[in-house]
Symmetry: D3
Amino acid sequence: MDDAHQLGPDAAAEIATFAYELGNLKREPRKGWRQALIANPESVADHTCRVAQLASIIAALEGGDPASAAHMAVWHDSQETRSGDNNKTSKPFMTVVDHETITAAQVERLPEAVRNALQRTVTEFETQATIEAVSAKDADKLECLFQALEYRAAGNTLMQEWIDDSYEALKTTTAIRIADAALVTSPLKWRQ
Amino acid sequence: MDDAHQLGPDAAAEIATFAYELGNLKREPRKGWRQALIANPESVADHTCRVAQLASIIAALEGGDPASAAHMAVWHDSQETRSGDNNKTSKPFMTVVDHETITAAQVERLPEAVRNALQRTVTEFETQATIEAVSAKDADKLECLFQALEYRAAGNTLMQEWIDDSYEALKTTTAIRIADAALVTSPLKWRQ
Amino acid sequence: MDDAHQLGPDAAAEIATFAYELGNLKREPRKGWRQALIANPESVADHTCRVAQLASIIAALEGGDPASAAHMAVWHDSQETRSGDNNKTSKPFMTVVDHETITAAQVERLPEAVRNALQRTVTEFETQATIEAVSAKDADKLECLFQALEYRAAGNTLMQEWIDDSYEALKTTTAIRIADAALVTSPLKWRQ
Amino acid sequence: MDDAHQLGPDAAAEIATFAYELGNLKREPRKGWRQALIANPESVADHTCRVAQLASIIAALEGGDPASAAHMAVWHDSQETRSGDNNKTSKPFMTVVDHETITAAQVERLPEAVRNALQRTVTEFETQATIEAVSAKDADKLECLFQALEYRAAGNTLMQEWIDDSYEALKTTTAIRIADAALVTSPLKWRQ
Amino acid sequence: MDDAHQLGPDAAAEIATFAYELGNLKREPRKGWRQALIANPESVADHTCRVAQLASIIAALEGGDPASAAHMAVWHDSQETRSGDNNKTSKPFMTVVDHETITAAQVERLPEAVRNALQRTVTEFETQATIEAVSAKDADKLECLFQALEYRAAGNTLMQEWIDDSYEALKTTTAIRIADAALVTSPLKWRQ
Amino acid sequence: MDDAHQLGPDAAAEIATFAYELGNLKREPRKGWRQALIANPESVADHTCRVAQLASIIAALEGGDPASAAHMAVWHDSQETRSGDNNKTSKPFMTVVDHETITAAQVERLPEAVRNALQRTVTEFETQATIEAVSAKDADKLECLFQALEYRAAGNTLMQEWIDDSYEALKTTTAIRIADAALVTSPLKWRQ
């Protein structure tokens, strides 16, 4: 990075402000699990981490670029610092702007290189036109399915809706086959 | 993906097994914070999420590829399902194999495309020879600094060691300037 | 209750369904506290309980009916099972219907006596035209102020905004004087 | 409120002191659930919130005054800041004064209007001579039954005792029919 | 153990029953900390563990038997499965039988060897006539002081009462000197 | 304790430092339970408390000294402040020094009386040559079995491995018979 492009204090402050905002994803419990009587459910950030890992794996198997898929996953719920984590129980009562609009507001004052990178990434994910974007979205659903199976193994009896809804939303053969395997694999198998 | 490369049930089961293993990162509390008297500290996955976001931002500003940096961040602590989260208090009493060896064991039975992608990513991160790898490592430290500042704002009085150690480990000008800004920015500024 | 008005099984099922919905208030953490870095903040139900108690006290002192004020407090956030707990950070990005509309949807299939009682109560609270309604709203703000002072005593350094905003929203002399006293009273004084 | 009756600073301090005491209900986990192996059970305040909501509903259906029933519910466990939440496992080993005595001690120094309102409310609840008092007590038991069913749906296998004991304590036809419905209604039905 | 003394199934069932009862100490949060606004305070068992460790250390330094002192500590709060954790805020409102009576009830149906050992241990602790009993009681207070200092370091501002009360209750020179040192030692010093 | 042996300020500071280190056992969640999808599992100190209680009971029944067995239990996991709580999933990837070496490092600067007492206790436990040491180790396994049964009663479906492994490790007839009884006794039986 040459001097002309070095980060000035104002731009650095904008990034710090945004980083603090992103910290809220670590403290925001996922709404669906609360409704399903899960005490102390995972955070949005917890979810995001494994979504990104699964996006990388699915993209690799689907012949896409793992890094690009993971990158979309990393930002795919970052709008929830603003909108919260809404679902079908809230939707009849509210109109929420689309993710690209929220991202635009979040990155408005960030340096151009960051602003462009994030907006491009969110737009690619929302458009769902590349194999990486499809892999990232499948990873989002597949992660939810794994978590539902884990909560079911931990005792919760209300997980079927989340298992079914996640499964039915899967698009790639890869993700469907991993989901099929997840249904018959013990969460403890890796320990053997 | 043509038929010849489609995921078979055995390979799918290996990936499901690995995905359950990765779930442990969502339940593993970060060790340093426990030692610093933080009740219910963030998980390794919580940390990983913002590391990946910061890696993307730092790489964009340093002229690197945001996706590649975020991708390394996504996998940089994935070995902790095996080794746990060790630090200077444990190191005199144990010898832990390097991250690449743990990753090799974790991905041993995964399909070649995944195995190669993950090993290459971990090796690039550990080698620290690209701007993206340096950005990802700086993101790791910078995220820790932000979290320490957040815990300090939440009341904890023991955070100076983590703030200093994180700050001193930063390599890029971008990360250092963000850290400087973080020290003087309120965690609530984004809400205004 | 004479036989003609006894609750039939369908009506009972509607009430049970609504009671399960209300259970979500016990698991919904208050949003503002999460943004202010409070780990494991109180639930909406936790908040509601002391709001109702304070509403009873304020109304008694303001010459109103304590039961009526407490009753409005009990239902004042019951819409959040649907809308979630939104605040100034979400408002630019969403349009939420008013509380009376949500209540109407929630009670639509409940027996007429319940439906009328709840809609009347919510409307009285939202209209703010009676001393009891004003007492209940002041109790809502005053409870938030007490909780902010408690979180501050527990260490959190970011509470000033909530203390100030709550204080400034108070309408009755009674609530203002209790708030003034709260600012200079130890949370442990009752134990002496 | 005319000037002669305005709250003086000493009286305001007494109310603030009492409001801090009431805050303990938000932090006191319900004892029975801990014994039944529930991790992180609901607080007394969590319980109180839905008791008051159910009291309002039952009273409306039983032809009583919803506000009065809810008001009794709001105060019915407020003595537990002093006595704790005792049950059959503690009773052979301790003698606890009655609720009215504890309330008398709690409100002793509060302004007369508050003192009278609270003592009258607690006495009405303890005497169980009005339909509102009976509705509030039934709401207490019914809420416990709902919570037991929710904990059972969340996995806990030890809930039968609480379900049975709560059910058997119900007095009104309304509450019994709601309980019958609760037993066969999914906690997720409201979401459809 | 010769055959004549082997544990029969009824006696084994009584011990299992008691072991499940003791499990409640792991889930019972310490009451004082809840009153002092500590979220998720330690359990009675958490406290007991360090009390026993400190009792061992104090007794060793006071010339007593470490094992005997630790053993008294291990059982010193075991009555709280029945009585709960009461303190000065509850005492005016309840009469609780003494610890020896509760222990007698708990061990009534256990084999004689266990019954005698536990009753002797509890009586020795309550009588406070041996250096080991005094060491165990000092360990109880000293542990509370350490925990108060840790909660203060974690941000809580209300700990002075617990620090002072614990300090003033200490009897042995050893415990007083450790307390003096605790006040000026960082909770992080052991990590250096 | 005569003057010549009184604890000096440096020695007191070393003990305070060690007591803060021991506090980490209260905050360290047990690793196996996290892997088995237990949210918020017990701490190492929670576990230690009931191990010590069971060690006391087993030793009494096996004709050993309850205090000595409990004392070994109190210190048997105290090394985990340094090594963490490692298990079969971590062992292929790390070499950890033995417990006696860690204890030696922990007590190195403590007064001789404490140092000797702790090292002797840890060595006796690790050597497993006395009935008290065997009782303490059986108590460690038996406690794990009780906790697994409790987590299973609370809903978790993955406990069989822990139940079996704990059972198979038991050495004394006493512990085996208590385990047999535990398998068929309700965790709620003590309440009747």
